[in-house]
């Protein structure tokens, strides 16, 4: 579904990604772990071109999205993204947050968009907040709304950029719960996270990144149970 070849990204002289190769299959849940500064967020942000790669290519559903002539907006409609800091639109109500892109971008009739939005709010357990504004929500609620907002576009893949890192500890669970449900529903997901327990439980594949490269990858049992690379061992010994 997503195919990444020799992906490189530099900021000025600093090379953040030093050639990433990975293929992600439909329905797969890939969890990217690694120390801060390892380039995992940059990698994720390159997948929907929020960062423009300096080299290599990315193919999504057969289309070369890194090609200059490719219309990235059309691709982004099919790739939902959830951010560390939620980035809900503060001047719009919860319902408007969910309906804006489907109505304006996908030209969905508002009635249909609203039906889908209300469905999603039920899924994330926040039906009663549909008329609230983001400022009236807790961090965990905001992130669940942000997930629902991304899902409202009915994407084929969901990208999560440290979705629980800005949350108070007691709110992490409710967000992971929603993500787990999503994974069980068969959604293709790429998740950057520091939640090792969650990675082990929900991930189909664990990707360990360090220094802008994929150092090791495998099933959770392989990577967590029997890490091969010394850097993986070192990292896991610190976080587990």
């Amino acid at each position: 579904m997503i195919s990444v070849k020799d992906l490189r990204k530099s900021f000025g002289k600093l090379e953040i990604l030093k050639g990433i190769d990975i293929d992600i299959a439909k329905g797969e849940v890939v969890v990217v772990i690694g120390p801060s500064g390892s380039g995992k967020s940059t990698f994720l942000r390159c997948l929907n071109l929020l960062e423009t790669p300096t080299g290599g290519q990315i193919t999504f559903e057969g289309e070369p999205i890194t090609d200059k002539r490719h219309n990235i907006n059309a691709t982004r409609e099919k790739m939902g993204m959830v951010f560390q800091h939620f980035n809900l639109f503060p001047h719009k109500s919860v319902l408007q947050n969910l309906m804006l892109a489907p109505v304006k971008v996908k030209k969905q009739p508002p009635a249909e968009a609203e039906r889908i939005a209300l469905d999603l709010l039920r899924t994330v357990g926040l039906s009663d907040k549909k008329d609230a504004y983001p400022s009236q929500l807790s961090g965990g609620q905001k992130q669940r709304i942000a997930i629902a907002r991304a899902l409202a576009m009915q994407p084929h893949v969901m990208l999560f950029d440290e979705p629980t890192s800005a949350l108070d500890p007691e709110m992490v669970g409710e967000v992971l719960e929603v993500m787990k449900k999503l994974a069980e529903g068969g959604m293709t997901m790429v998740i950057v996270t520091h939640e090792m327990g969650f990675a082990r439980e929900v991930g189909d594949r664990i990707v360990f990144m360090d220094g802008g490269q994929i150092v090791e990858q495998g099933t959770p049992a392989e990577v967590f149970g029997n890490p091969q690379n010394s850097r993986t061992k070192d990292f896991l010994s610190k976080v587990l």
Partner: protein, 219 residues
């Protein structure tokens, strides 16, 4: 002669003055607002030509006296066969002058909106223009509302320079009344009061508007 009798005796003069002052200020505010947004977007463009045009526009209009701009537009452009009526010249000058100041206000507002906002919008497939219109601009305008109000008040006051080219605004009418009555002070005090009532009302209205915006989405 006292202020009140001057006011009452020449009320039709003042009424005319109020009309023209309000008309020009309103045009200046509305056109300056729209033009200001366009200029600020030009200035932040990724392409060098629009960026240059936006920067030159702002720097030149901010860096030269408005009365000079007015005279150039009204008297100077005649040399190129461009002839405006006094009201047209006044409206153009006020609009472009305020657009330069407002463009800077908008730029500050737009750049003040969290980057994550446009990233979220873009990640949902919204093109750049749509992101600007639905996500960035509404938040930017809201955050710079006090500065915009300031500029609106300035426009009302500065509109008085159109009296130089013969628009019968408040300032011009006070001169006319001075000529009739030989009372220098009273007409000035009357128009000062009228200007103050206009600006004070506007400032209160904007304050109320700001509070209303704040009730629904505090961050």
């Amino acid at each position: 002669m006292n202020i009140f009798s001057v006011f009452w005796e020449y009320r039709t003069y003042f009424a005319t003055g109020i009309q023209y002052t309000l008309l020009l200020a309103a045009i200046g505010v509305i056109c300056g607002f729209v033009l200001g947004i366009i200029i600020s977007l030009l200035r932040m463009s990724r392409l060098w030509l629009p960026k240059l045009i936006g920067s030159v526009w702002v720097e030149v209009l901010r860096g030269t006296p408005m009365v000079v701009q007015l005279f150039i537009i009204h008297y100077g452009l005649v040399a190129f066969g461009v002839k405006f009526t006094p009201i047209e010249s006044g409206a153009i000058t006020l609009s472009i002058n305020s657009s330069a100041y407002l463009a800077e206000v908008f730029r500050a507002g737009i750049q003040g909106v969290d980057r994550g906002q446009s990233e979220a919008a873009r990640s949902l497939g919204m093109p750049r223009s749509m992101t600007m219109r639905y996500i960035v601009l509404p938040q930017a305008v809201k955050s710079v509302l006090p500065a915009i109000g300031n500029e609106f008040i300035t426009i009302i006051k500065e509109s008085s320079i159109v009296s130089f080219i013969g628009v019968t605004d408040l300032m011009y009418q006070s001169g006319a009344i001075q000529g009739i009555t030989y009372d220098y002070l009273s007409p000035l005090l009357v128009i000062a009061a009228i200007y103050f009532i206009m600006t004070f009302t506007l400032s209160k209205l904007l304050g109320a508007f700001e509070r209303r915006l704040n009730t629904d989405d505090q961050r």
